[in-house]
Amino acid sequence: MVHLDSVTKVFGDVIAVDDVSFAVEAGEFFSLLGPSGCGKTTMLRMLAGFEVPTRGRILLDGRDATTMPPNRRPTNLVFQSYALFPHMTVEENVAFGPRRRRLPAAEVGRRVTESLRTVQLEAYARRYPRELSGGQQQRVALARALANYPAVLLLDEPLGALDLKLREEMQLELKRIQREVGISFVYVTHDQGEALTMSDRLAIMDRGRIAQLGSPEQVYRRPATVSVARFLGSANLLPCEVEEVGERAVVRIGCGPRVAAVTGPGLNRHDRGQLVLRPEQLWLEPEDQRSGPGEGHPGIEGRVAEVVFQGAVVRYTVETVGVQLNVSVPARTERVGVGERVRVCWPEGDLYVLPEDDGRVPDALGSGARPAHTGEHTGEEVG
């Protein structure tokens, strides 16, 4: 449905998008996830036609659309600011696109009704945008785009301006609408929760390149780089030395314990690596108490530096030798106080080891792997 072939966009002396290739399938919910300034919005604007790539090609629906103007493309964009026409009613806003296609009035009316029904706003057809709440305006923006029956719907951080509760409702709502209309969605966001919740697949962008592309579970469980691991779910990274590689690898933490793990691509024996420990994989045990459920589990000793109650979970920061570890445990478990010495434990197996970050992140994706920015580097290769 959407094909990007070595697309590069340069503004002045800034490379906003650097040699990116990927494909979005028909009916797929695809997210571009990354921090601000990573090039994801530029990418979306190239798909919409507002920017022309400096190099590379964009295919839409099998046709070369690299230089096609926005008003000729089979795409529609939902703007971050919604961009609803303030001088038109909801109905007129939604009818704007179909009218440009010179459809008969009856068909325009049918599409308006249908789109407004999809977003559950039929009752608001005659209101002006300023008379609606932020969430309702967001739905109008969606209906206005859907009324054109685009082959691909592009969404630029559409939930960014909504409050948390509404945002969570709209995530499920967007997913429902996408299944209902069955078209491809390309969704740009910096919110990892959003991307993980809604996407069939997602691409994590970093400094103009795709750092990793895969299903939410693949990129979460098997991050391709240290920066992806840090960005998604704020993983703890523990320096280690690789003793055995592969599915049944063994790594050694400092001079401490040996741990069974799975190594990522590009790691050889005796390499330095980073053990990925998710905060929710860890739990705490009193240091002096070696019996109980944690017995036999690998772990590392430290001192509790901070305790933050977050409702469902309690978040601990534990100082260990040289590293701070974030630990997230269910709030119902017994509380440990600041300053207490504890043992941070993790389960055996299902731990993942990445090559050490050499600081040049996009290029440090692992020498053994194919370049990740070609989009072929998916979690399957390493999982």
């Binding site: 964009l77 001088h87 704007f96 696109g97 054109n148």
Partner: protein, 287 residues
């Protein structure tokens, strides 16, 4: 507490009373004088009230023709200026980039030139042997100088446009600048070509600015007399010139005042229409 409030109010009234009185005297006074002059019988005929001056102004075909021509020249000028100011304002607001502020300054500074100097400059450009005619002649495009360029309604329109373009462009620029550029992109994304984007999105959203510039420009144009006096000739003679002639040269205060009053009423009506248009459905709330 209420004592303080009362004292504050009293202070405000005291402070404002003298400027308000002065302004009332200076603005309302002359208007009243004109209204009165317009209905006073000619002193040579005797004292009394009469509507003869109005009858003369509205019946005499010469005055009617000049009134009509004045409206025509002002309307054509306004149309030409809108046709120039809209693209110019659009360019300044959305496309000029770094040149935006220098261009705005140039536009404002051009207004600071002495108007008489500007008008004479235009006479040099538009005359029989002026720059435009000699250029066209030497290029072989015309065999004899274009006569209509100077001392005609055409020259009045040209000089009007050049003198008033700043006042037309600035309010339009300001209202365009307030438009979220993503609205124009949204229209493009939804399939609108450049004309539809302009007509359905830009113009309606800039409407308040367009009406402000019409108020600022159209109404003063109706009573202008310096430009037509200097470049208009007989073909570009406007109501302002008649008023000046009647009052200053012929001492005919009655007819001059009656004409002025007619202009005042027309202007007030136009202002009302412009105000109503700017309040049209949805438009007023945009600003």
């Amino acid at each position: 507490m209420s004592g303080t409030a009362a004292r504050t109010t009293a202070t405000v009234v005291a402070l404002l009373s003298s400027p308000v009185a002065l302004l009332t005297l200076l603005f309302v006074g002359p208007v009243l004088a004109i209204l009165v002059q317009g209905v006073l019988r000619d002193p040579s005929v005797g004292p009394g009230i009469t509507f003869d001056h109005y009858a003369e102004v509205l019946r005499d075909p010469l005055y009617v023709r000049i009134l009509g021509r004045t409206a025509f020249i002002a309307t054509v000028t306004m149309a030409v200026m809108l046709a120039l100011a809209l693209p110019l304002g659009f360019f300044l607001a959305f496309r000029a980039g770094r040149a935006e502020i220098p261009l705005l300054l140039a536009l404002v500074l051009s207004e600071e030139l002495n108007p008489i100097v500007k008008i004479y400059a235009w006479r040099m450009l538009l005359g029989r042997t002026g720059l435009i005619n000699s250029a066209l002649t030497s290029l072989g495009l015309i065999s004899r100088p274009l006569e209509f360029l100077l001392f005609s309604s055409v020259s009045v329109v040209i000089v009007f446009v050049a003198s008033w373009i700043t006042y037309t462009t600035i309010p339009i620029y300001a209202s365009l600048k307030a438009i979220d550029p993503s609205l124009i992109e949204a229209a493009e994304d939804l399939g609108a070509g450049v004309l539809v984007r302009f007509w359905k999105v830009v113009i309606p959203l800039a409407a308040p600015g367009i009406f402000v510039s019409m108020l600022l420009v159209y109404i003063p144009l109706l009573s202008e007399f310096a430009t037509p006096a200097l470049v208009g000739g007989t073909g570009g003679y406007m109501v302002g010139n008649v008023v000046q002639e009647q009052i200053l040269e012929l001492g005919n205060w009655g007819v001059g005042s009656a004409l002025s009053t007619v202009l005042l009423i027309v202007s007030a009506l136009l202002a009302l229409v412009a105000y109503r248009l700017s309040r049209l459905r949805g438009l007023g709330a945009v600003a």
